[in-house]
């Protein structure tokens, strides 16, 4: 569908937030750890492995990608603030995003060394008010016992398909002397390169506005 099906060649973005994707190098120095980029969780109902991404159809330019990331960090901070456990110096900070193609997710099914993966897909699933949110869902062969080891293997393949980073400093964080985004490393899949022509980019933006309007007015349903 025009706004529903994520095509193999579509980019999906994974946002990095400090300190979630960082590890402590020394007492007062934390650096980006690529292994913490994705966070894979179990679906208690289906037993599938789930993850979250943002679909380029609804974040067609870096400005939209970063706006999503800034909202993500802001929501985490708001939640902590509401719980009375947030100090400004300990706030979460959006640092940038890495991109990977949908076909990299779907290729997990036939990936060498991942025979226990029965299905792998990414679908558009609005979540927490974020229209660009996409759900990564990986089904495992019945009887898979070492699910945690499988998660590591999946994570490794996703990391190797990821390119970037697209770094960013949110308005709320421009007071920092040293922004953690400076420690983001080049993705294992290389740097992110936007190969779209001007016309193609223009079309992506127009399509985004059409899809957003359709969503807001209830003309579209989740797949």
């Amino acid at each position: 569908m025009f706004c529903g099906r994520i095509q193999d060649g579509d980019y999906l973005y994974r946002h990095t937030v400090f300190p979630l994707s960082f590890h402590k190098e020394t007492f007062d120095k934390e650096t980006f750890d690529p292994s913490r980029l994705f966070h894979l969780v179990d679906d208690a109902v289906s037993g599938a492995i789930l993850g979250s991404l943002a679909w380029e159809r609804f974040v067609p330019t870096p400005e939209y990608i970063h706006a999503y990331g800034c909202r993500l960090a802001s929501k985490i901070n708001d939640k902590k603030r509401a719980g009375g456990e947030l100090k400004r110096k300990h706030r979460h900070i959006y640092c940038g995003a890495y991109g990977l193609k949908a076909r990299s997710v779907r290729a997990l099914v036939s990936a060498e060394g991942l025979g226990e993966v029965a299905s792998a897909d990414v679908t558009h699933l609005v979540e927490d008010g974020e229209i660009a949110h996409a759900e990564l869902r990986i089904g495992l062969v019945t009887g898979t016992v070492d699910v945690e080891g499988t998660k590591t293997a999946i994570l490794d393949r996703l990391l190797n398909a990821s390119c970037g980073p697209l770094t960013h400093i949110c308005d709320d964080d421009d007071d920092l002397d040293e922004h953690p985004s400076t420690s983001l490393s080049i993705g294992r899949g290389g740097e992110y390169v936007d190969t779209r022509s001007y016309l193609s980019l223009l079309w992506c933006i127009v399509r985004f506005h059409i899809c957003s309007w359709l969503w807001r007015h209830g003309y579209l349903r989740q797949e």
């Binding site: 070492d146 590591t152 490794d156």
Partner: protein, 209 residues
């Protein structure tokens, strides 16, 4: 900048011959102490060949050094410090609130400490750690573009070696095999399927080539 003289790095030398690889002395038992005062002692296991594994027997120390022969071996005091910090980080992960994505179960922490003690006993560089939720901790090392992961859960430990292009090797074994950790490293070196001692002798233990 730190004092360069305090960071002496040794490049390991592995001589890979036939079956007559010289035997190294077993390392003395090492202790990993966490912040709560619990001590984990390495098992100091002597590796011996079994009928199930068709490679020459080698000491665990050699296996580790050969598997990661280009990983810099750092000075012992530095390793001790790294593992001290690793133990503290693991313990902190058990103390996080339920629902925190870095929270790990106590039983996972205990198994991870045992594995860490074995690694320390072999003077192996401390890994980076992350988790997938409360049920596991992952130890991670990088070597160029390749990565090695040890995924540690309460029931299973699995090793994975990958390159950017593909998963090169996977081995999983039960935590009941924790008293024979060299098995996993031997499997990483071997071109042959590796059989876990806890499973039926005819069953390949999740090895992926």
């Amino acid at each position: 900048m730190g004092n360069l003289l305090t960071k002496v790095r040794l490049q390991p030398l592995a001589v890979v011959g036939g079956s007559d690889v010289p035997k190294l002395d077993s390392p003395p038992p090492k202790q990993l102490k966490d912040a709560a005062g619990y001590t984990y002692v390495s098992a100091n296991i002597a590796v011996s060949g079994t009928a199930d594994i068709s490679i020459a027997p080698r000491s665990e120390n050699q296996l580790l050094r050969m598997t990661f022969s280009s990983v810099p071996i750092v000075w012992q005091s530095e390793i001790n410090q790294e593992y001290q910090e690793l133990g503290e980080a693991l313990e902190e992960m058990t103390q996080l609130d339920e629902g925190d994505e870095w929270k790990v179960d106590v039983v996972v922490y205990q198994v991870a400490c045992q594995v860490a003690a074995e690694l320390l006993a072999n003077s192996f560089p401390a890994p980076r750690i992350f988790n997938h939720g409360p049920k596991s901790v992952v130890f991670n090392w990088s070597r160029g573009n390749d990565n090695l992961y040890l995924t540690i859960s309460s029931d299973y430990i699995s090793a994975l070696v990958s390159s950017p292009e593909r998963i090169k090797r996977r081995i999983e074994f039960s935590t009941k095999d924790l008293l024979e950790p060299a098995l996993v490293f031997r499997g990483l070196l071997s071109e042959q399927p590796v059989v876990s001692t806890s499973k039926a002798t005819s069953q390949v233990s999740g090895f992926v080539e």
